[in-house]
Symmetry: C2
């Protein structure tokens, strides 16, 4: 008699963004005449950079000709992409990672979700609240104990290690989704020290690294001394290069990073991640890997950065309204997310409903990211500039 994984039955019924989409679809169906402005899900809106599109065409041409056709690639990704990512780390962040410590995947969400396969279910997981739901849900699915650390106004939504709290796996995301808050080098250094002292592993989500504009702020945890002994980093081309629909990300597992087996022996994690990916994954589409390599090529980053500049302007437009109205908010400077307190002490979903129904503007309820997000609301800068201006004009009436 086949039995289900009982842990699935402990999950919230639907993924946050599915619930948001359902509400928006219902509203759209009931209000066919109204123009909805979507600032909810963190999805980009500008097209792929020309060199990326050309790389897709080039890949398509190669796949159509016997001499250049590509079948199964290495599950870990083609060397030309892994080397391009290593070059990016070196040139942009001064970080040395070897190409074989970098595994290419179909996105950071997949890797963040799948990495839990490597760890004992008996580990305790430390997660911020509010949080990107994938960290929490994937650990509920696999039955791990989760300890939440509260982020809030009192710590600028940047919780720091608590010596009284023990954890084996620690999820950090900076620039943060959903709050837009960014750890300083000193703060991340404290986390690295804590992890090394306790033998914990930091699962560091750097998906928004390219929004950091201040060179003093870290973009990779590997800019922090000692991080190679205690951290895995996840990154993505979704936001850097508009790959949300094209799908490509990468995960860095330093060769010296170890966890322990039941007898306390140190077990390197890189071979385990390689084993997981070679067994349960078959590599990223060749044409997408061609496109990914183009991002890191000579014109790629410059072209992608033009899009990022537009999103940064949108963030600025949102921040200006927050400043004008004296709203408490976080992020928006080194992040595409603006995390605002709902007006008049409203609850998150109430503000979501009101903003949707009265102004046809979609955001994401802070409470959807965890109990500590209650009373807050997330806006994204990934819309069009016209849409963002229009949304702020509409929202002004409610603030």
């Amino acid at each position: 008699m086949a039995r289900v994984n009982q842990n699935f039955l402990k999950l919230e019924q639907s993924y946050l963004f599915t619930r948001v989409a359902q509400k928006v679809n219902a509203f759209a169906a009931q209000n066919p005449g109204r123009t909805i402005i979507r600032m909810g899900i963190g999805d980009v809106t500008l097209p792929l950079a020309p060199v990326v599109v050309e790389a897709l065409h080039q890949g398509a041409r190669e796949m159509g000709v016997k001499e250049t056709f590509k079948g199964y690639g290495p599950e870990q990704g083609y060397a030309f992409v892994r080397e391009a990512v290593a070059g990016y780390y070196k040139a942009e962040m001064g970080v040395e990672v070897a190409p074989d410590e970098i595994l290419i995947s179909d996105g950071a969400k997949s890797d963040v979700g799948n990495i839990v396969d490597l760890f004992d279910t008996d580990n305790t997981v430390l997660i911020c609240d509010p949080v990107y739901p994938v960290y929490l849900d994937t650990n509920i699915m696999s039955g791990r104990r989760v300890v939440l650390m509260k982020a809030g106004s009192e710590n600028g939504f940047l919780p720091m290690p608590d010596p009284a709290v023990r954890a084996d796996l620690i999820y950090l995301c900076s620039p943060n989704n959903p709050t837009g808050a960014v750890y300083t080098r000193e703060q991340l250094g404290e986390w690295v020290d804590y992890a090394r002292k306790t033998g914990a592993i930091i699962l560091f989500d750097a998906a928004y690294e390219r929004f950091v504009q201040d060179p003093a702020l870290p973009r990779s945890i590997f800019q922090i001394p000692g991080a190679r002994e205690c951290a895995i980093e996840f990154c993505s081309l979704s936001k850097t290069a508009g790959f949300t629909g094209l799908r490509c990300g990468y995960t860095v597992v330093p060769r010296e990073l170890c966890a322990t087996d039941a007898s306390g022996n140190r077990v390197p994690l890189l071979p385990l991640w390689v084993r997981r990916q070679t067994t349960k994954f078959n590599g990223v589409s060749y044409v997408v890997q061609k496109a990914a390599a183009a991002v890191f090529g000579p014109q790629g980053l410059a072209q992608c950065d033009e899009n990022l500049a537009c999103y940064r302007q949108n963030a600025q437009i949102i921040r200006e309204l927050m400043e004008e109205k004296g709203v408490e908010y976080y992020g928006g400077l080194h992040s595409p997310y603006i995390w605002m307190r709902c007006p008049g002490g409203m609850k998150s979903w109430d503000f979501f409903d009101r903003l949707l129904e009265e102004q046809a503007v979609v955001g994401t309820p802070g409470a959807g990211f965890g109990a500590a997000g209650e009373g807050f609301f997330r806006l994204t800068a990934f819309g069009t500039q016209e849409g963002t201006r229009e949304a702020m004009d509409r929202m002004r009436a409610l603030l």
Copy 2:
């Protein structure tokens, strides 16, 4: 102190095809002048069909223009692909599956690997020996009891249910990888009856369905009455349309299919699979989904079938040598795989080494698929026709 998933330490050190690749690479490095013919890994060699290439170009063009750019798609796949797959089932196999029972993924290997997330680790898993290593390794990784059912000459490499053996999850693959053997409708019917009687779920791998040429043989388990209450089917465009490097597959979970919770209540599996995929996956690349839809379009299957005809000819060439030399073999008629007994009672890896070293031909050792595969060897029909002819000429000397 982070602890690893101990189950990973019980795995064979490397994935079978990784070991084969290492041996071949070493041979190539030591013998730079020799031309190696690869009939090992089941990878296609003919380029993508013209309509598929054109769909990739079309997708690339759309992604480069603001008006048609696609960001995050539905994690389950775009409706146009799900509907195309449903139409394929109906037209080709007379099987009714609803588009929302079909989830599009980056390949059957990923889905076969990830489906285990849905089931209790306390389930017992029934797996053929020899077997596609992914079924076994993914269950070792998640710590399930595995019961092997021996396939061999005595049952034509098609094991049937044993009433004395109880299992909760049953992996079946037909046409089989690695043996090329194909279940009849009657045989699959016995499996369906057994599963329904015992409450087991059949995980049916139909990746090679399009190689079936005899309409009396089943291509989908859903051609068997009652299968919707006991089976999940995995399929792929890798072999049907040469997508090994492009990456697209699909999994069908019937709406009425249930497993039980700890209290014995029936829990539908489709919502669980949707929850797994929406949480730990972010959908297949839009350009790849465009290409996938083109496969099922008016010209798509016809163009793809031209490639399949070439592979069938290769299988015929291999079978002719087997017949000529009186070698015991299976498959090759409704399958791209030929499963042959090694000559002179040789062991699988010994024959692998000898064939590589003496003739520079690569196959896959049967023992790599399980202990019951010892003494057998797998050849694939996915090479070029010249290469296949040349390989058989070289191999003739050893038989």
